[in-house]
């Protein structure tokens, strides 16, 4: 019996090796293949957001599956790997991508995993384009990491201004998740900006795995705060909204780009919780490029059940999906411009790549960050469970 099991195990492992080896070869169609790594969380705290971002990339890949580099048509193959939203899985997930021979990498949703993997990409000379990782540390001092989104100091300041101007807030409650670079960073910049505006902040953190937010909401109430600022992952967001609704939180909730998600909409629908977020993309535009994207993507969801599930079960478009969509085209631009599939060549020309995407114009500055100076503010319509566009904000 034991021997049989042992033999089976060995066979399994051996077959795994064969598979693993056979995976990296070119596709059956005979076309040349260029691989783009998709480095996104599919599970863990940021799983929902990561999946929506991946969807954008997959949709873009579905409508533009080839790219012409130096006159040769290449088939674009996405290599998707799950970084599990966890900084300690980040390195092996990144190594996995690198070992599959990707030309460049897109992602990740969540700044922590991006920072954690940055050196792995750099040392393997694979350029990475961050899609929605907003923490400054992602690109700072790393020549191989670029990004197409705005940064936290900007976003934090926008939110601080918004809290002050729109809600007349004097005291804010800021809540971050321990060990999460995204929320801790965003809180930090918010606090700096808000205090510069003469406000006061109560800053608290919750440990990973928290599902009981009752005490935090109570703390905000008891502290006499005017806004509840909590740019955390959407898993926590849903629980915070639930708890805020239960306790009748008497102040608006403010959050960053992560909260631009249908999970938040679903949680807030039918409640009295006021929620405003800053984000990259607004659906309601009449621009042809944007309406094409919106309609096309909704059609894509309708025809693809898995995609619909990954989008959270409805066809509300998250900003991260639009960003993922844009990121894919930026990657194609880079490939075309470089005229090569080698990472080092792509990295050389990346600073000069520009693209007009559905989320606006994309160009890189000397740090490798996107040149963006506007953010959209959206608000939840509690009755319909849809986003309401509020304003375009920028910082002078």
């Amino acid at each position: 019996m034991k021997k049989l099991i042992a033999v089976l195990t060995v066979l399994l492992i051996a077959s795994a090796l064969v598979f693993a080896g056979g995976n990296g070869e070119s596709s059956g169609s005979g076309k040349k293949v260029v691989k783009i790594g998709v480095y996104e969380p599919a599970s863990g705290d940021n799983g929902a957001g990561g999946k929506q971002e991946t969807l954008g990339i997959q949709y873009a890949n579905a409508i533009t599956p080839t790219v012409t580099i130096n006159g040769t048509e290449y088939e674009v193959q996405l290599v998707i790997v799950d970084n599990e939203s966890s900084n300690d899985k980040a390195v092996t997930a990144a190594s996995e991508l690198v070992s599959k021979g990707v030309s460049l990498v897109l992602g990740s949703y969540g700044s922590g995993v991006s920072i954690a993997a940055a050196d792995t990409f750099a040392s393997a000379e694979v350029p990475a384009i961050g899609v929605t990782c907003t923490n400054p540390q992602v690109t700072l001092g790393n020549d191989w990491y670029y990004r197409i989104c705005f940064l936290d100091p900007f976003q934090g300041t926008v939110l601080a201004n918004y809290a002050k101007d729109t809600f007349g807030a004097k005291k804010a409650y800021a809540l971050a998740k321990l060990g999460d670079d995204y929320s801790v960073g965003l809180c930090n910049y918010f606090i700096k900006a808000f205090e510069a505006l003469g406000g006061q902040v109560i800053y608290e953190t919750f440990p990973e795995g928290t599902s009981d937010f009752a005490a935090y909401v109570t703390n905000a109430k008891n502290g006499g705060c005017d806004v509840f600022y909590s740019p955390v992952s959407i898993e926590a967001a849903a629980l915070i909204i639930e708890q805020a609704n239960t306790q009748g939180l008497p102040m608006p909730i403010l959050a960053g780009d992560t909260w631009d998600s249908n999970v938040v909409l679903a949680a807030a629908k039918g409640t009295n919780v006021s929620i405003s977020v800053t984000t990259f993309f607004v659906e309601g535009s009449t621009d042809k490029q944007i309406t094409d994207f919106v309609d096309g993507f909704k059609g894509y969801l309708a025809s693809n059940a898995t995609a619909l599930t990954n989008n959270g079960g409805n066809d509300e478009i998250a900003a991260v999906t639009a960003m993922g969509f844009d990121a894919y085209y930026v990657a194609l631009e880079a490939l075309k411009k470089a005229g090569s599939t080698k990472g080092a060549d792509i990295q050389k020309i990346l600073p000069g790549v520009t693209y007009k995407g559905v989320s606006g114009d994309i160009a890189f500055d000397k740090n490798g960050d996107a040149v963006r100076n506007v953010a959209y503010v959206k608000k939840v319509d509690n009755a319909t469970g849809k986003w309401q566009f509020v304003s375009v904000q920028s910082v002078k």
């Binding site: 969380p41 935090y216 849903a238 990954n310």
Partner: protein, 294 residues
Amino acid sequence: MGFLQTNLPYLLAGISTGGQYALIAIGYTMVYGILRLINFAHGDVFMCAALMVIYSASYMPLYISLPLAIVATGVLGFAIERVAYKPLRTAPRMSAMISAIGMSYLIQNLALYVTGGLTKYYPPVPFISDSIEIFGAMTKRVTIITPFVTLVLIVVLVNIIKYTKIGIAMRAVSRDFETAQLMGVKINSVISATFVIGSLLAAIGSTLFFSNYTGVTPTVGGMPGLKAFVAAVFGGIGSIPGAVIGAFIIGICENIIKGLGWTTFSDAFTFVLLIVVLMFMPTGLFGEKATDKV
């Protein structure tokens, strides 16, 4: 705002989480009492119970799916024992514990696979999920109900253990495994019963817990499970009243700590409390003093 209105929410949240921890902790402590095994998979059984409610509730009304899920959880507990622990009855204790850790891994990963890594949301249970106001503090009705449900269940359980045949057998087995076996106690059915009871209580605890905190992820059982286990150790592992008291103490303290603004330490504090207690009472509050016969 009055003092009561300010601080009542913490106390309420504390008592209610305490009650939920208690229901999980009983499973830990009963299994430990009988098998001397830390059933690491228990927290995941708690999570599974919630997932079963979520999935079944989309096919059938809640008044069917809830009891069904609770029963199914009992069956799950039974199955886990048969698959993962029974074959290791004579193996060293460490093996059984590793098996428990492996089982916990398996359940979490299965849940990850099934849910696709996305958070699932617990359906609102009518009546107990509603918001109510007491002394000016807003909370869900479940918060108020939990301690009472917990106490009722514990009274029932204690009576089962005291007076029914299976209960007496359980006590016999936990006092002396070998002798009970020699005296004709059907060890396997006693152990199965223990797992089923523990899982049923965890399922009820999960209903109460997730009605309050609705997000269910594959790892959501981890922290409550660990804390319930700490509660069981705190109260003296093997002792049911100990586990319950320990759970309430931990639930309340944890929320007070959060209320004081020491949120970074809300989880760690549980362990500080545990270690302090163990320093002075090495076998917990009500644990039996183990003396090594020389």
